[in-house]
Amino acid sequence: MWGLRSLVLLPLFVGCSAAAAGTDTGPIELSSEHGAFRGVFRTEPAPASVGKNRILAELTLPEGPAVEHAELSLELWMPAHGHGSDIEPKISEQGGGSYTVDNIGFPMPGPWEVTIGVSADGNEDAFGFTLNVE
């Protein structure tokens, strides 16, 4: 079921209104919804395309230090068609505030809302952006 249940690491939901538009190929830089973190996100391939993809995330605190040992979750949602994606992502920490989210499945092209939840040092927040999958 594309209800995103398989993607839950952190039960956190960011509404559609929190999503920021992403560029097709460049990195996406933004603050988390409540300002607890800052993040830079890139996709591989760039732009994201139908099939399996990867997101590289670099997380910092607003003051600058890297966010380490965070728990991340991923939600995918295609608002125009009312469904998510039913493939299990693999999230791994690379060190220095860098994280890799592998095995992200986009079964069809179009705008996808991506919500990445972050839990670190007692803070929980989430990033929301839109990828135009080709």
């Binding site: 249940r5 039960p11 939901f13 209104s17 139908v50 608002p79 068609h81 009312g82 179009g110 080709e134």
Partner: protein
């Protein structure tokens, strides 16, 4: 002469009329499907239709056309349909039941195959005004045209997008929502060999609840209503052969959720094609081939995940009144 005109008119109409476009699931490749419609000389009609659809590209929310890369998207559809006139009246009911076989091979994912029923469609039609079947002249009595209002319901018997178990979405066989359709078909024979058919319909798509959050809570989702228009022109060469062209356009309004209208979720799709029809045994058995395709040019579509050609071969058995 009048009897001969009626005879030819029946042939001309038979070649152009049964061409109604149907709702399309968002995630199937191209989704064109047509219903059998009994003409005035028919008591009933049964149709078996085989279609192949291939996704070659997509239209984004900005209307930009992009070719699909490293993605194989194929649908095979077998559909059984029929129409039955209610007694000797101008009313008829129709049904269509598709069976789908779908294939997906997406970059980095396992090849996937799935089969199952698609969405079923039920219709009722009323021939309010018959085309006078007179060649167009300066005489106003020849300017009348056939008017057939209709109403239908699309029942989501196919697997819906929010209940798929497959990462590739190969098991999405239907729209997921009940759609109530109302429309009108306008038919005009231009002469003894040519006919034009225009159809408009509006589909109201009911809201449904989907799992949309990580917590698994229900989320109300109402797909946008759909507006469809079709224009077909047919020319009959002789008793057996007819050819024609057609154009279809389908628009859906923006999706609605709890927060209101979802930005950039409206869709637009314009397709064109041609068909050839031949009576195998006049006037009961007819074979028909149709090719229909999207225009792979930016702004001829919007929010169409998979676009491409559809090839359909149908065999129809008519039962006369």
């Amino acid at each position: 002469m009048q009897r001969l005109s009626a005879f030819w008119f029946a042939l001309v109409v038979a070649s152009v009329a049964p061409l109604e476009a149907r709702a399309q699931a968002c995630c199937t490749s191209t989704g064109a499907s047509f219903l059998a419609v009994a003409e005035k000389q028919h008591m009933a009609l049964v149709s078996l239709e085989a279609s192949y659809e291939r996704g070659f590209g997509s239209f984004g929310a900005d209307g930009r056309y992009r070719a699909l890369e490293q993605a194989d998207v194929d649908d095979f559809i077998l559909a059984l349909g029929g129409a039955l006139r209610l007694g000797s009246s101008d009313w008829q009911v129709g049904v269509k039941a598709p069976l789908r076989l779908q294939h997906r091979k997406l970059r980095g994912m396992e090849r996937a195959l799935a089969a199952g029923p698609g969405d079923m469609r039920f219709d009722v039609r009323w021939s309010a005004i018959e085309d006078p079947a007179k060649p167009l002249r300066f005489d106003p009595s020849t300017w009348l045209f056939g008017i057939t209002p209709f109403a239908g319901v699309l029942v989501p018997t196919g697997g819906s997008p929010d209940h798929t178990e497959e990462p590739t979405g190969v098991d999405i066989m239907g729209d997921g929502s009940v759609t109530l359709v109302a429309g009108v078909d306008l038919l005009k024979a231009l002469g003894l060999s040519d006919a034009v058919d225009v159809e408009f319909s509006y589909g109201y798509r009911l809201a449904r609840s989907v799992d949309a959050t990580a917590t698994g809570s229900a989320h109300t989702f109402r797909p946008g209503d759909e507006i469809q228009a079709r224009l077909a022109y047919s020319h009959r060469f002789d008793l057996d052969w007819a050819v024609g062209v057609l154009a279809l356009s389908r628009f859906t309004l923006a999706v609605e959720d709890e927060d209101g209208s979802v930005e950039n979720s409206a869709t637009r799709r314009m397709r064109g094609g041609l068909f050839v029809a031949r009576f195998l045994s006049y006037p009961t058995w007819q074979l028909r081939f149709q090719a229909l395709a999207d225009v792979p040019v930016t702004d001829f579509g919007k929010n169409v995940p998979f676009s491409g050609p559809t090839f359909t071969l149908s065999l129809t058995r008519a039962f006369l009144r």
